[in-house]
Amino acid sequence: MERERDPMFWRSLNERYANKRQLPLYREQLAREFPPEAAPHSDLVSRRQFLKLMGASLAMAGLSACGYKPQGPVIARAKIPEEALPGESLYYATAVTLSGYAKGVLARVYEGRPIKLEGNELHPASLGSTDAFTQAEILNLYDPDRSQNLLKFGQIQPWQAFTSELMQQLAIQQAKKGSGVRLLTGIITSPTLADQIQTFLKAYPQAKWYQWEAVNHDNVYEGTRLAFGEWLNPIYRVRQAKVILALDSDFLYLGPAAVRYAREFADGRRVRENQREMNRLYVAEPMPTVTGFSADHRLPIHSSRIGLLALAIAQAVGASVQVEAAGELTPDERKWAEAVARDLMAHRGESLVIVGEAQPPTVHAIAHAINATLGNLGKTVVFTAPPEAKPTLCTNDIRTLAKEIEAGQVEVLIMLGTNPAYDAPADLNFAELIPKVPFSVHLSRYTDETSALCVWHVPESHPFETWGDARAFDGTVSIQQPLLYPLYANTRSALELMATINGQGGKQPFELVQSYWKGRNLVPAAQFDAFWRKSVHDGIVPRTALPIKSVALRLQPLPPLPEAGQGFEIRFAPDPTLYDGRFANNTWLQELPKPVSRICWDNVAFMSLKTAQELGVVGTESVALVHDSAPLVQIRVNGRTLVAAAYPIPGHVDNAITLHLGYGRTRAGSNGSGTGFNAYTLRSSDAMWFARGVEVVTTGQRYTIARTEEHHLIQHGQLDSTHHRPIMLVGTLQEFKEDPHLEKHRHGHAKNGELPSMYRGFKYDRYQNPQNYRYAWAMVIDPTVCIGCGACVIACQAENNIPVVGKQEVVRQREMHWLRIDRYFKGPVENPRTYQLPVPCMHCENAPCELVCPVAATVHSEEGLNQMVYNRCVGTRYCSNNCPYKVRRFNYYRYTYYKQPVLHLLQNPDVTVRGRGVIEKCTYCVQRINHARIQAKKENRRIRDGEIIPACQQACPTKAIVFGDINDPDSEVSRLRREPHLFAMLEELNTKPRTTYLARLENPNPELSAEAHDAASH
């Protein structure tokens, strides 16, 4: 059949055959029709669900205790090539793209189905780590709501019908040189696809190609144009920077290079006994972000006044910048600016100023001027040509397209993967424009808001199902190779669609990609095959990174800064877990507590407590929110209105609200639709990121939001949400230099002291002698470098088959994440210090949980693991009550109960799927430990340090988590446990945790540190 790819070019043959073997299995499963279900367990006690579950629980297979079930079937492949090893996973290098930019990953493929993504060390944007989005991509692949059929006005159509119609439309256009054809795509870095599009544009010279991303970096390009006269792509060498100033920029969390920047940032902060230096981060931003939480000094300030701040700093460092600015900095802001400026000047050539994409070009230009003045150009910040195939200003593109449609100039509109009907600026009314186009084609993975308005909807293949390529932030190209046989017969990739349009319908994506690269002549034809295999194998094409351009500052006349009146401001920002809304149907990301606010399944209008009280959305009493219900407010931005839940958060600037994009979708799929509030309805093309003159009025109604951390701690004056408990050890670099043990901050933290106990206890170090060597597993986490991005949480979820429970259950505090990230505030509510702490199971040697289990379902292993045996668990939940760290989770319902069989393909075969009524918790990824142990034993050797990497450590962008064997004194974890500033959470309970932490260190600027310091010391 036509799907049959040429077997020669699969990276490994068994891959293909494995897929063939899988094929009948899941095709047959998917043949059955499954209605998409609402978010799992949202309304369990409703009658419908009751009956459904009656069936389910009566057929209680999972983990049932007794008896021999009738043996099931076992499928024997027809053919297996030699290297195939049933039951063993294979790893394939590929890349995941987010708004065009690639992050390299290694996909673990088990028996023909990818089940886990891990970072690719060789890839510049990954360095072996991933962010939460990348981790969750695997769920997108298996999303049951994916579009599977070719639709015309919602009716299923055969492929031929589409091609013939398309061809005759194109034929008509051919005559007019394609003057009526418009192509709308997301930002495209894929050389092959771009090549296809160019071919197309050659054939239709007057056709136009526009790109649109709701979260774009127009301002960055414009900024470089103002500063250097051309569009450039700034790349920051964060590692080299001793002092970093981030202006309204979340560079540690968002953006194509975020993972790399986070790693470099962390590398500049790992303080050890023999490494007592750390960089210093200043952040000025309206709403706390991941970056802001990691800052040593954070200044809450309106987006519209960042410009003034930048200007003040520029003048202070002596950069010559002429720009007209209205408004004044407050004395405090000025003091802050000057202090920062002095610090920057003290670190010429090793300082860095980063400006976020939300800031107008002028501010970017000012920042470039500062960097130039400080001699940072070429040192901490370098520039390349834009990696995009066709650099552009998305906002202009979409505006022009809208105008053209308005003017009726567009007869054929082909959209590859974007969703303008949902995320285009509200003033363009794009949703009303699309139907005006006589012939519109929309290629996307979901029948989303845009598909619904188009004539034709073409289901898009997931990148893991097809061949492709994409560039990283620095231009490095990755070849995307298929990981499994396409789940659905009718899906196409953008490449295939363009090929069809270009009349190369027969060609396979593989040929297209490979022939393109053959054509580049990167290597002599003879060596191409080896080159190709290496590129595919490594996940990067060698020597494709863009060359560094040496640039000199040539400031153009700068447009004036936005008027910084004192009016009420609204700020739009990409959602921390849904980005621009493309992940709306990804339940992992929906349920991942947002890094800053710890809210799931919704976005809210963030504001400061003061503002909230002025608006009357919360009373003046100390507790801001009644349990989980937040007041609804109506937001008016020049004529457009939106009702959203108001939510006070410490550290937000007054007289402003922040709304995250990406929610309030209507056709995202069964899980994404109808969650949150659609901020795009307020966003206009002239105020893409922030707007002044906003009115907010209370509606009197309330709205239930799901949070994983109680909010009772919002109160006036000084916050301390740890309630002065010895949960974290916090100190400053200065204090560390004076006393690495930080004694003065250790309340109840006995410094590696043995507390008295009634029992002899088990001594695990008795296994250190080589004759009878036994491992002792432990973990050390460094909160100083943890930025709280949540990648570990999703990685854990993917690795351990952790179910999603849905908003209702989160509201009832039954979220199942094995690993949570605690967030604590200290200091003035207006701008508190914030501390984050990843909390997995502590694997206490004196585990309180084990003692109280009546059936020995949780006991210790010889290697000191706190084992949880699901199939023995009776479900008394006493262990959870008795766990001081509250890391145990209980299956109140049968959460892992997939109505859609496709989701079964996602599950990790090495981890038991927990049934109803059992406790579960972090196991230190015992499946990985066992796998490594078995390998080692077969090879009669010891497990090497670093051979076992738990999912969380694997994913962590900053490598804040280290796992290993403490019976081996040379292992990294042993070395970390010897660090003076090590502490154990709630040490005084004498639970002897195997998971320990290093102190959270900060590097405040003495000039500013007064309050920061007070807050730091508790």
Binding site: L63, Q71, S861
Partner: protein, 240 residues
């Protein structure tokens, strides 16, 4: 007052009590022995199969090594059900048109899987790894006893937790030299000569005292193969 009961009712009453107690015991012991019986555990019950494959014929009569079909057993957790390909290596030459093998031929030509019925089925929360067992000297027929004698394949052990623990607690009683793992006819050496021969054959050093029986041989091998006995009864060894 008139008697409510007859004289024999005394006997009845006592008999009832005694009988009740007996019945209770019978219930307990009966129950526990039933759950261990093959009738419950399905040990020795060959399930129906699409192809009437005989291990007796292939393994015993033809003497084909286990690994010829289950080649992944030494490297992977799964021993692997051989693909039709493997069957065809021989059956493309012999029995080329036996009706019994029709399915196999179709499978091979149409490249679609054969669906067998599981014989040894572990619960989903138990993780058994073939490779480590065969690499540490646990013979195939410790668990698949008498497989080489089976016309139709059935599981020969209940595979209850108790069964597994039995060996995990004292492997000495079951372990054998690695080289003998696939030998279906391996016997524990009776005489010192045999023992010495065995150990020399597999190059297993013994210092001083030559093991006299399985217990001692086992102890020697456990040490030699560096098996951590205490660890083997950890929950997470089998349950994750």
């Amino acid at each position: 007052m008139a008697q409510v009961f007859k004289r024999y009712h005394n006997t009845v009453a006592r008999a009832t009590i005694g009988g009740g107690l007996l019945a209770l015991m019978a219930l307990i012991f009966g129950g526990s022995s039933i759950t261990r019986s093959p009738w419950w555990t399905r040990a020795g019950e060959p399930p129906d199969q699409p192809v009437p494959f005989s291990h007796k014929h292939h393994a015993e009569e033809l003497g084909i090594d286990c690994r010829y079909c289950h080649w992944s057993v030494t490297k992977s957790a799964h021993a692997g059900i051989p693909p039709a390909e493997v069957c065809m290596t021989c059956h493309s030459q012999i029995w080329t048109n036996s009706p019994l093998l029709q399915i196999v031929r179709d499978t091979y030509q149409q490249d679609k899987p054969i669906v067998w019925n599981k014989v040894n089925d572990l619960p989903e929360f138990v993780y058994f790894d073939h490779s480590i067992h065969v690499n540490k000297g646990i013979g195939c027929n410790e668990c698949h006893a008498g497989i080489e004698k089976m016309q139709l394949t059935a599981k020969s052990q209940p595979f209850s937790m108790w069964f597994c623990l039995n060996c995990h607690r004292n492997p000495e009683q079951y372990i054998r030299p690695k080289g003998e793992v696939f030998n279906m006819y391996y016997k524990v050496p009776r005489t010192a000569e045999e023992m010495r021969a065995l150990l020399e054959k597999h190059g297993i050093p013994w210092n001083g005292q030559l093991p006299r029986n399985q217990q001692e041989l086992g102890a020697l091998l456990v040490k030699h193969y560096n098996i951590h006995k205490e660890q083997l009864s950890d929950c997470s060894i089998c349950h994750r």
